[in-house]
Amino acid sequence: MGNKISTFTPEQLEAYEDCTFFTSKEILHIFSRYQALAPDKVPYDMTGKEAQTVRIAHDVILTMPELKENPFKDQICKVFSEEGSGHMTFEEFLDMFSVFSEAASRDIKSVYAFKIYDWDGDGNLNRSDLEATLLKLTQDGLTQDEKNFVVDKVLEEADLDDDGMLSYVEFEHVISRAPDFLNTFHVRI
C-alpha cells in the first residue's frame, strides 16, 4: 500500500483476521465496498473508533447488489446489527459477509441461518416463523392450503420433541443433512 493514510491499524487488521474468515486484502476490499455505500459518512481513516460507531442506514445497505434480490435481506441485516435495528457498523458488515463467505464453517452458518429464519427472535422456529420463511421464498406462488401442508411436513420431519417448534438443535440436525446448504448459504463479494 503506498498510501500515507492507512485505513486500519495493524492491530485492527489482526483482530479482524482473527474474528472473520477473511484475509487483510479481502477486508480492505470489503471496506471499499462499505465506503462506496455512503462515501460522505464513512471516513477513509478508521483507525479510531469509527469502525464501531459509524453506522450506515438500513435502507442504504439493502441497495447493495449482493443483497438486493435476496428475500431475506431485511432479516439478514437485522440479525447482524446491534439491537436488531438494521443499521450496521463496519464491523457488523464485515461479520455478515464473513459468515456468508465460502470459508466459513458449517456450524457458524447454521447458527446464523437459524437466527435469520427466526423472525420473532425467540430462539425457536415456530409455525409463524416457518410460514413467514415460506412466504418469502415463494411469494405468491403457493396457496394457503399448500403452505400449511408444507409447514406441517417440515414440523413432522424436524420436530423431534413434538412441541410444535424447532429448536436450534433440531434445526441443526436437519441442516447438517442438507447437501446443498454450504453452497447456497454463500454470498460472493
Binding site: 492491530e11 489482526e14 483482530a15 482473527d18 474474528c19 472473520t20 474468515f21 484475509t23 473508533k49 449482493e66 435476496n70 428475500p71 446491534e82 439491537e83 464491523e91 461479520d95 464473513s98 456468508f100 465460502e102 470459508a103 464453517s105 458449517r106 456450524d107 457458524i108 447458527v111 427472535g121 425467540d122 430462539g123 425457536n124 416457518l130 415460506l134 421464498l137 415463494t138 411469494q139 406462488g141 403457493l142 399448500e146 401442508f149 408444507v150 411436513k153 417440515v154 420431519e157 424436524a158 420433541d161 413434538d162 412441541d163 436450534y168 438443535v169 440436525h173 436437519v174 447438517s176 443433512r177 442438507a178 447437501p179 446448504f181 453452497n183 447456497t184 454463500h186 454470498v187 460472493r188
Partner: protein, 757 residues
C-alpha cells in the same frame, strides 16, 4: 425465578432445554469495555477483581452466582446449569475444549463469562489454551464485538512467538484450502464456467465442464498422434500417396491429414507403420483408461453425498433452497419459480399417489404404445434412409451441375445432419403426449435420443463397410480386365474423407440450428413480437448427447485421419464459445434437472458406451478388412494387425509359442469362465452390502425419530420433576438430575457435531 445465572443474561427459563433469551443478548459495551449494562432484575455484581492489570474492565456477564446458593440456582431456575456443576465440583480451571464448547453454545444459553474462565486457567496450560481459542475464534457464533474484545484480550496475553506461529499456521492452512478448492478449476475457461454456474446453476455448468473434459482428451490424443505419427511423416518429406489418387478435397486429400499419405517404410530406425498402429491402439487404450478412472473418481466422491439425499425433503427445501449468491433479478425470479414448482410437485406427490380412472389409464397406455411404435419407426426409418443415401444417389432433379456435385459429395453427411436436427426435436415434442412425471420424461427422452445417435453411428459404419468392400471389389474386378474402373483403390482415404465431411457438416449444423432456433427466437422476443413465446430452455441432456456423438465420430475416424483429433479440438472450442454466448443471451435455465452429481457420471457412462461401439467396430475393421494395396502404411500386409506379428515374429520362438498357446480356446474359455465367476461373486457381495446398508439406514431413522423423541420426553419429565416434586429434594438428587440433563444435552450436541461429514 429470576435467577441470575452465570450463563444467562436474561433469565426467562421456559423449562426446556432450549431456554434462550427472548431478546438478542448483545450487550452495550463501549469501546474500552468499561461499561456493562444489563437488564437483569437481580444484579449480583462480581467482586472487584474484575479489573485486570490494566485497569480495564474485562467483559463479564453480570450476575455471576458463583458463591450463591448453587443448588437452588440449579433447580429453581428451570434452566440448564452446566456451569454450576463444573464450578462447584471442580474449582479447577476449564480446559480450552470446554471453553470453546460453551462458546459455541453461547447463542442458545447466553453469553459466556469468558474472562472469568480464562483468568482461572493454570499457568502452564494458559498459553496453549489461549492459542487454541484464538485459532478457533472466528468459528464461534458470538457477536463481532465480543469476538474482537476476546481477540484483543488473548493477544495481549500471548507471547509473540506463539502469536507468530499461530498466524503462520493459519496462513498455511488457508493457502492449502484455497489451493485444494481451486484444483479442479485449474485450466481453461474457468471464468466462463463460473459465470454460467452463477446464472444457470451447476447443472447447466456440468455440460460445459463435460466439454472441457473432452477438449482435454482430444488435445491429448492429437498431441500423441501428431508427435508420433504425423511428424515423422512430415519430417521425412516423402509423400507416399500414390499418383492418381483423387479425393473430394483436392490437394488436401493427399496430404498428411488422410491415411493415404503415410508411407509403409522405416525412416532411419523409426518404424513408421508400426508406430502408426501402436500409437492408434495406445490412444484408444488411453481414452478408455481416462474415462473409466474419471468415472471411478466421480463415483467415489458422489457416494459421500448420496447417502442421505432425501431424508428431509420439505425441510431442506424450506431452509436451504434459496441460493444467496444470486444477484440478478432474472436469476432470482427464476429461482423463485423453480422453488415454487418443486414445492408444488412435492406437495402433489406427497398428497395423492396416482389416482386415475380406468379409462384414463388405458387411454394413457394406448397413447404410450402408439408413441413408442412411432419412435421405433422413426429410428428404423432414419437408419434406412442413411443406408439408402449412402448407396445410391439418383438426381433426376434439374439442378445446376455444381450443386449436383456438391450434393453428391456431401449426400451422406447432409442426410445425417438433417436427421440429427429434426429427430431429437420430434422426440422432445412427442414425449409431452405421454404424460410421464417430469423426471421420467427426462430419462425417456435421453434414452431415445441416445439410441438414435447410436443407431445413426452404426448405420454410418455399415455404409462405410460397403464403401470399402466396393472399392476392393472394383479394383480386383477391373484388374483382370483391360480397363480399370478406378486407378487406385484407397478405401481408407474415402472413409476418412467421409468422416471429415460428417464432422464439418455436423459443426455447420450445430451453428445453423442454434442460429435458427435460438437466436432468431430471442431476436423475435426482444423485438417485442410474440413475447408470450418464452426463451428456449437449455436442455442439458440433448446438448451433451450431441457432443458425445461428435466425439464418437472422432474416435471412428481416427484411424483413417490422424489429425481428426486436432479437428475435434477446434470444433469443440468453437462449440463451447457458441453455446456460451447463446446460453447467456438467448436461453433460460431448464425447469427440471437431474441432481448434478448423478448426471456427471451418467454422461460419462454414455460416453463409455459410445467409445466401446466405436472401438469394437474399428477393431473389427483392423482385424478383418484388408487394407488397400495402393496406399497407406499397411499396403504390404494382408491384415493390419500383421504389422505386429511380422515384427513380433522377430522375437524368440518360445515367446511366440506362448502367445500362440495362450490364444487357443483351451486357455481362453477357462479364463472367461473364471472372470464370469468373479463378476458373480462380487455382485453377490455387493448385494449383501446393500442389504446391510439398508438395515443400518432403517436403524438410523429409527434412532432419530423414536429414540430421540423418547430422550426428549424423558428430559421434559426430569425438568418438570423438581417443580412438581417441590423444592425439598436433596442437593444430591438435584445435582444428579442436572448431571443427567447435562449428559443428554452433550449427547445431542455431540451427536449433531459428530454427524457432520
Amino acid at each position: 425465578m429470576d435467577e441470575s445465572h452465570p450463563l444467562l443474561t436474561n433469565t426467562q427459563g421456559q423449562g426446556s432445554l432450549r431456554a434462550a433469551p427472548s431478546a438478542p443478548d448483545y450487550q452495550a459495551f463501549d469501546n474500552q469495555g468499561l461499561v456493562l449494562e444489563t437488564d437483569l432484575t437481580e444484579t449480583n455484581t462480581l467482586p472487584s477483581d474484575d479489573r485486570d492489570d490494566r485497569g480495564v474492565d474485562i467483559g463479564t456477564v453480570p450476575g455471576g452466582a458463583q458463591q450463591a446458593d448453587i443448588s437452588t440456582a440449579a433447580c429453581e431456575a428451570d434452566t440448564v446449569s452446566i456451569v454450576t456443576i463444573g464450578e462447584e465440583q471442580e474449582k479447577v480451571a476449564l480446559g480450552g475444549e470446554e471453553i470453546l464448547f460453551r462458546l459455541r453454545l453461547a447463542h442458545i444459553y447466553g453469553d459466556l463469562d469468558w474472562a472469568n474462565h480464562l483468568r482461572r486457567l493454570n499457568d502452564k496450560s494458559r498459553e496453549d489454551v489461549h492459542v487454541q481459542i484464538l485459532d478457533k475464534l472466528r468459528e464461534q457464533p458470538i457477536s463481532i464485538h465480543q469476538k474482537i474484545r476476546l481477540s484483543r484480550y488473548l493477544r495481549d496475553r500471548m507471547d509473540t512467538t506463539s502469536v507468530s506461529s499461530l498466524t503462520s499456521q493459519q496462513a498455511r492452512k488457508r493457502q492449502k484450502s484455497r489451493r485444494s478448492k481451486f484444483k479442479p478449476s485449474v485450466g481453461i475457461w474457468n471464468g466462463n464456467i463460473g459465470t454460467i454456474s452463477a446464472y444457470f446453476g451447476s447443472h447447466v455448468a456440468s455440460y460445459f465442464v463435460f466439454l472441457k473434459f473432452l477438449v482435454y482428451l482430444d488435445v491429448l490424443m492429437a498431441l500423441l498422434l501428431f508427435g508420433l505419427v504425423t511428424l515423422p511423416q512430415i519430417l521425412s518429406n516423402n509423400n507416399a500417396a500414390p499418383e492418381g489418387l483423387s479425393g473430394d478435397f483436392g490437394v488436401v486429400s493427399t496430404s498428411v491429414i488422410f491415411f493415404g499419405a503415410y508411407s509403409d517404410t522405416k525412416w532411419g530406425f523409426y518404424d513408421r507403420p508400426l508406430a502408426f498402429f501402436l500409437t492408434w491402439a495406445a490412444v484408444n487404450v488411453l481414452c478408455f483408461l481416462v474415462i473409466v478412472s474419471s468415472m471411478y473418481i466421480r463415483y467415489s466422491l458422489s457416494k459421500r453425498v448420496e447417502t442421505s439425499e432425501d431424508e428431509f425433503p420439505f425441510s431442506t427445501t424450506v431452509f436451504s433452497s434459496w441460493d444467496h449468491a444470486l444477484t440478478k433479478p432474472e436469476g432470482a425470479g427464476l429461482r423463485t419459480n423453480v422453488i415454487i414448482t418443486n414445492t408444488k410437485e412435492m406437495v402433489r406427490e406427497e398428497r395423492s399417489p396416482d389416482k386415475s380412472t380406468c379409462c384414463q389409464s388405458t387411454g394413457q397406455f394406448v397413447i404410450r404404445a402408439v408413441v413408442n411404435m412411432l419412435v421405433v419407426a422413426v429410428l428404423g426409418g432414419s437408419g434406412y434412409l442413411i443406408y439408402l443415401v449412402a448407396d445410391t444417389w439418383d438426381s433426376s432433379l434439374d439442378i445446376p451441375r455444381w450443386l449436383d456435385d456438391l450434393l453428391r459429395t456431401y449426400k451422406l453427411p447432409l442426410v445425417v445432419a438433417a436427421l440429427k436436427m429434426f429427430v431429437p426435436l420430434i422426440f422432445d415434442q412427442v414425449i409431452r403426449l405421454e404424460g410421464y412425471a417430469p423426471r421420467t420424461e427426462l430419462k425417456v427422452t435421453i434414452a431415445r435420443t441416445a439410441l438414435f445417435y447410436l443407431a445413426s453411428l452404426v448405420v454410418f459404419l455399415l455404409s462405410m463397410y460397403e464403401v470399402s468392400t466396393q472399392c476392393i471389389r472394383d479394383v480386383n474386378v477391373t484388374a483382370s480386365t483391360a480397363t480399370k474402373n478406378r486407378a487406385v483403390c484407397c478405401w481408407e482415404n474415402e472413409v476418412g474423407e467421409e468422416v471429415v465431411k460428417v464432422v464439418l457438416i455436423d459443426l455447420g449444423q450445430i451453428l445453423l440450428t442454434t442460429l435458427l432456433f435460438d437466436f432468431l427466437r430471442a431476436a423475435v422476443i426482444k423485438c417485442g413480437a410474440f413475447t408470450s413465446l418464452g426463451y428456449r430452455e437449455f436442455t442439458v441432456a440433448s446438448e451433451v448427447l450431441d457432443v458425445i456423438y461428435g466425439q464418437s465420430l472422432v474416435w471412428l475416424g481416427l484411424f483413417f485421419s490422424p489429425l481428426l483429433a486436432a479437428m475435434g479440438v477446434v470444433k469443440l472450442v468453437i462449440v463451447f464459445y457458441f453455446r456460451y454466448v447463446t446460453a447467456r443471451m438467448c436461453k433460460v435455465p431448464p425447469r427440471t434437472f437431474f441432481r448434478a452429481s448423478r448426471s456427471g457420471n451418467f454422461f460419462m457412462f454414455i460416453l463409455l458406451i459410445n467409445f466401446f461401439v466405436c472401438f469394437f467396430t474399428m477393431a473389427y475393421a483392423v482385424i478383418e478388412l484388408k487394407p488397400s494395396t495402393d496406399c497407406g502404411p499397411f499396403k504390404a500386409e494382408d491384415h493390419v494387425f500383421e504389422i505386429l506379428t511380422s515384427r513380433v515374429g522377430d522375437l524368440p520362438t518360445w515367446i511366440r509359442d506362448v502367445i500362440v498357446y495362450v490364444s487357443t480356446p483351451a486357455i481362453v474359455i477357462p479364463v472367461i469362465l473364471f472372470l464370469l465367476l468373479g463378476v458373480l461373486y462380487f455382485k453377490a457381495k455387493s448385494a449383501s452390502y446393500t442389504r446391510v446398508i439398508d438395515k443400518l439406514r432403517e436403524q438410523l431413522r429409527f434412532e432419530r425419530r423414536v429414540e430421540k423423541r423418547e430422550v426428549f420426553a424423558r428430559a421434559r419429565i426430569i425438568y418438570a420433576g423438581p417443580q412438581v416434586s417441590g423444592t425439598g429434594s436433596s442437593p444430591r438428587q438435584r445435582q444428579m438430575t442436572t448431571v443427567s440433563s447435562r449428559t443428554s444435552i452433550t449427547d445431542t450436541a455431540t451427536t449433531s457435531s459428530l454427524s457432520h461429514p
